[in-house]
Amino acid sequence: MDSNISSRPSEVATPPRSKFKTNVSGRYTADRIFAAAAWTATGIAVAILAWLLLTILIDGVGTLNLNFLQSLPSRRPERAGIFPALVGTIWLMAAVAAISFPVGVGAGIFLEEFSENDNWFTRAVEINIGNLAGVPSIIYGLLGLAVFVRIFEPITGGRSVLSGALTLSLLILPVIIVATREALRAVPSSMRLAGYALGANRWQVVWSHVLPAAMPGILTGVILALSRAIGETAPLIAVGAAVFISFTPPLSPAGLQTQFTAMPIQIYNWISRPQEEFHYLAASGIIVLMTVLLMMNAIAIYLRNKFQKQQ
C-alpha cells in the first residue's frame, strides 16, 4: 500500500486550501477572554456585596449596644436609640401580616381553585396583578396618602400605623398571590381527585387537604413578601411616618391609630443629618434591620427546604 502511494505522487489528493480561516487558536483565546469576562462580572457583583456589608459592619458595630436598642432617638447622638423605630416596625409588620395573609391567600385560592372557565373577571384580576407588580412603591404611598390617610381618616386615624400597614399590604399583595398560586399548583391533583371521589365539594377538598399541603410554600412566599415590606421606606414617608418621634406607639388596638415611625425611616433620618456620629448610628440601625431580614429569609429557606424534602 505504501509503495502505491509513493510511486504516484501526482494522484494523491492534497486537501485544497480552505476558504475559511479556521484560526482555531485565536478562537480559543477569545473563548478564554469571554469566560474570564463572565467570571469577572460575577466576581464584581459578589465583591460589591461584600464591600457593602463590610462597610456597614465596620461603621455600625461601634455604636451597636444594648443602650442603642433601648433608647429613644434624640438630638444628642450619644443618647440616641432605635427603640421606637423597632417597636414601630414590629407593630407595622404584625398588622401587615394580619391584613395581607388572609387577603392574599384568599385571592390566590380563588384564582387557582374556584375559577375554572377563563372568564373576564379572572383575566382582569390576573392582568391587574401583573401591572401592579411593576408600579413604583412611591405611587402606592401616594395612593395611601389620598385614600387611607384622607378619605378613610375616621377609621385609620390619619397618618397612623393602620394607614401604613394597609399601604404596605397593597404593595406586597401581588407577591403573596403569585406565591400562593404556585404553591397550590404544586399540590398533585390526585389529592383533589381523591377528595372529590369521596363526595367532598371543592371547598372541603381545599380546606382539608390542598391548603395544608401547600401551606409551607405559601408561608415561604408570605415571609419573603414581608421581608420586602420591612425595608420599604418611600411609601411610609408618603403616608406620613413621622421622621422624628419620641414615643413608642402603644401595643393596643388604639395604638393602630397613632403616629408611628419605622426602622427604615429612622435610618433615613439619621443618614440625612450632617453630623458624622449620626451616620454611625444609621449603620447600627442598618445592622439591626439586616439581622431581622436575614432571620426572616433563613426561616423562609428552611421552610422551603422542608417543603421540598416532603415532595
Binding site: 388572609p102 391587574n128 412611591i138 369521596l198 406620613g240 433615613y268 443618614i271 429569609n297
Partner: protein, 311 residues
Amino acid sequence: MTADAPFDIATGSWKPKRDRANLIQSIVKLVCGAFAAISIFTTIGIVATLIFEAIAFLQEIPLSQFLTDTKWTPLFSTQQFGIFVLVSATIMISVISLLVAAPLGLLAAICLSEYASPNIRRILKPILEILAGVPTVVYGYFALLTVTPFLQSFIPGLQGFNALSAGLVLGVMITPMVASLSEDALYSVPRSLKDGSYALGATKRETVTSVVLPAALSGIVSSLILAVSRAVGETMIVTLAAGANPTLGFNPFVPVMTMTSFIVQVTAGDAPHGTIEYKTIYAVGMTLFLITLALNIFSFWFVRRFREKYE
C-alpha cells in the same frame, strides 16, 4: 371528611350535610372573590387618585407650561413647573444604572447558566438573592457615605451629592434582576440548538454569542426594560445620594433632583391638602406612573412580538 356527619343509628345510614357544605362553599367563594377583586380596586384607586389630582393641578398650571418650563421651583416664591427638569435627572440616573447593570447582569447570567458548575451555582444564586433583598435605604447609605468619597478621591470636582454615585449604586441594585430574568431566558433555549452548534464545530463562546443570545434576546431585552422601569421608580437611593437641587441637564457630577426624590421631599414635609404643592406631587406621580406603565407595556409587547417558540 366532615366530622360532624349525622349518623342515624336506627337505620344505620349516614347522611352528609351537603346543604351546609355548599352554603359554606358559596360564602367562601364570595369572600375570596372579593379579596381577588381588591387588586382591580387598587389599580382603579391608583389611576383615579392620580388623574383626579393631576386634573386639579392642570386647572391651575397649563399643560404647556408644565412641559416646557425650564426650571422646577414649586416650593419657592416664584413658582415654576417644568417637569423635564425632573425627568432629565431621572433619565440620566437610569441610563447610568443601565450601563452598569446590563453588562454585569448579562455576563453574570451567562456565567451562571453556561460556565458555573452546580455547586458554584448553589452558592452564587443565594448571593444574588441577597443582593436583591437588601433594602434600598442601605444602598442609599452605601452610595452617599462610601461610594461618593471613594469616587471623590479620583474624580476632581465631584460634589458631595451627585448623580454618578446614585446611578452606579442603582445599577448594582438592579443587577440581580437583570441576571435572574436573563438567566431564565437563557435557560429556556432548547439544548438541541446548542448541541447543533457544537456539532458544527463552534466553540462555547461562539455558541453563546451567535446562537443562545439571539434565541433568548426577547427575554433579555424584556429584563433590561423591566430593570430600567424599576430604576426609574426608585426613591431612596437617589434621595439620599443625588441631592435635592433641580437642574435641567445631564451633568452627572452635580446634585440633581429626580421625580421620586421630589415627591419624598414634599411628603416628608407639610403640604396641606388643596395647595398647589400638594397637587404638584400628584402631577409628578402621574408622570412617573405613565412612564413606568409605558415601559412595562412595551416590555410585554416586545416579548410577545419577538419571542421564539421552540415547542
